[in-house]
Symmetry: C2
Subunit: 333 residues, 2 copies
Amino acid sequence: MEHELQVISEHRYLLGIDLGGTGSRAALTPFAHTLPDASALTEASTVRRLDGGRISVTAGGSTVIDVAEALIGDARRAWPDARIAAVGVGAAGVASLVDDPDAAATRLARAADAPAALAADAVTANLGALAGAPGAVVAVGTGAIALGTDLDRVWRRVGGWGHLYDDRGSGAWIGIRALQAAIETHDGIRQDAVALLALATERFGPVGAWPAHLYPRADRAGVLAGLAADVARLADSGDAVATAILDEAGARIAATLAAALDPGLPRVASFTGGVFASPVVDAAFRREFARLAPDADLRAAAGTPLDGALHLARRLATGALPRDRPPYLWLAD
Amino acid sequence: MEHELQVISEHRYLLGIDLGGTGSRAALTPFAHTLPDASALTEASTVRRLDGGRISVTAGGSTVIDVAEALIGDARRAWPDARIAAVGVGAAGVASLVDDPDAAATRLARAADAPAALAADAVTANLGALAGAPGAVVAVGTGAIALGTDLDRVWRRVGGWGHLYDDRGSGAWIGIRALQAAIETHDGIRQDAVALLALATERFGPVGAWPAHLYPRADRAGVLAGLAADVARLADSGDAVATAILDEAGARIAATLAAALDPGLPRVASFTGGVFASPVVDAAFRREFARLAPDADLRAAAGTPLDGALHLARRLATGALPRDRPPYLWLAD
C-alpha cells in the first residue's frame, strides 16, 4: 500500500507559479521528490521552469488571473505527460485588485485540472524565505510587502498597497524617487541629480516624453521599477543622490519588516528581492532592522517566492491547507 | 467703417475653456465688451458659464480634447445665437499627453466654427493671473505648474509633469501624502495620522478597498486631489500631520514659482488655485517665496485660468497671437 502510493506519486507533479509586476514564472517538480519544507525547491535538478507575462492594472481590474491561467496552459502544453497533483499560485494584488479571488481560484483549478491554492504574493514569499517556518518576511520587487504569519492564526500584513501611496523601498518607489530628483534638476529646483536625469533621459527620451511613457500605461509600476537596477549601478559608482535614495529604501524596508513581527510568533524574520543585491540597500536595511528589532533573528532567505509557490502546492496536495483565509489564501478543487 | 466694425463686433463673442483634472469650465463673453487685458473677465455680468466633464488618462492617451470638443458643442447648443469670434482653450497635459496638439487645435476650431488657440493650462493661468503682463505664475489644482513668460521670447516652465513624480504641493500631491501617512498609521509604522486614516476610510472604505478605488481609474489624479480640501479642513482644526503636509506643500509651490522667474522678464509673480484658500498653505508659500526671491513682486491673481482662456481668445481674435509655440500654444483657423 505504502509502496503503491510512492509509485503513483512519482508520476505526479507540483506546479508553482509566481506573478509580479515585472514578470511571472512557473516551476514544475515531481511530487515524490519534494521533501517536507525543503528549502530551495526550484534549485533542484528535477525542476522545470517557464516564464510568462507581466501583470497590468486597467479599468477592468488586474490581469493577474489571466496571466496565471495562460501560464498554467503553457505549462500543460510544455509538459503534457506530467499529471499535476496541485498548483500553488502567489500573485501581487490578488486581494485588492481581483474582483472575486474565490472564483479566480476555481478558474485556476480548472486550467490545471488539479486542486489550486491562490495566495497573496506575501504568502509565497514567506513560505519560500522561511521554508515554511513561522515568522515575518518582507518581499521587495515592483512593490514591497511584509507578512508575519504561521499560515494559521496569525496574519500580520504591512505594506504592499501599491506604488501610488505605499510600497516604501520597492523598485517602483526607487524609480519614483529617481524621477523626482531628475525632474527637479531638469527644472532648476535642485542641481545635484544630473546623473539620474541622464539615466532617465536615456530610458524615456527627453523629459517632455516621460508622461506619455508612464501615465497611460497599465504596467506603470513595472516600468518605474525597471529604473531601480540602473539607480543601484549609479550608487555603486558613487553617485550621492542615487546612494541617498537607496539608503532610505533600505531603512524603509526594515521598518516595514519590523512592523510585521507579531507577539504571537517567534521573532524570526527574513527578506527576499533583487533590491537587496545593492550593497547600499542591504547595509541600510540591516542597520535599521537591528535598531528597530535588536532581539529578532534575521535570516537569509532559504528560497524564493517561486519556491514558496511550490511549498504551497505541496501543502495543498498533502491536505495541510484546510480552508480559505481571505484576503491571503483561497483554495479550490 | 470703424462704426461698422463696432456694430459687427457687438454681435460676436469670445469663448474661453479651462480643462483640468477635477473638471472643466466654459465662459462666453461679448467681444465688444472685452477691454484689453481687463482683469477678471469672468466676473462681468455679461459672461455666461457652463461646466463640463473631467479629463482622464487612458492607454489611448488623455481625453482632454474630447472633453473640450464636447464643451464647445454644449456652448453652441446653449447659446445658439452667439457668433463666436475666437475660442481660447487652456488644458492640462496638452503638451505631453495629446498625440498631435496641432490637429487637436484644428478639431477645436472646427467644433467652434471659429479660430482656436489651444494652450497648456500654465499659459491660461499666467494670462489670467497677471492680466496679460509678463512674469511668472504658479497654477495649483490637481497638478502644479509654473510658467514664466511674455508669450513671445521667454517660456520658462517648472513642474506640471504629473502626480507620479512631480506636481509638488498640488491637490494630488497632498492627497498622496495624506494616504501615505494614513496607510503607515494603519500598518503600525507610525501612530500619529489617526485623523487622516479616518478621513481616507470615510472616503474610500476600509484600507483593503483603496487600491481598487485608485489604481484602475483613469482619473486617479483627480480622485487623489479630491482629498486635499478635507486635509485642509483637518489642518484648520489643528491636526499636526495634516498641517505638516500643507506646510510642505506651500513651501514646495514657492520653490516651483521661484524657479520660473526668468532673467529675461520683470521679477513679477502670481499664483492661482484653490489650495491657497488654506491659511497653512498660503503662509508657508509666502514665507518660502520671500526667502527664495526677496526682490520679486508677488501679486494677488487678477483673474482665473478661465479668464486667461478668454484673454487668449481675445488675443487670437485681435491678431495678437501670430504663430504656434509648441509645447505651449497651437493655433488653428
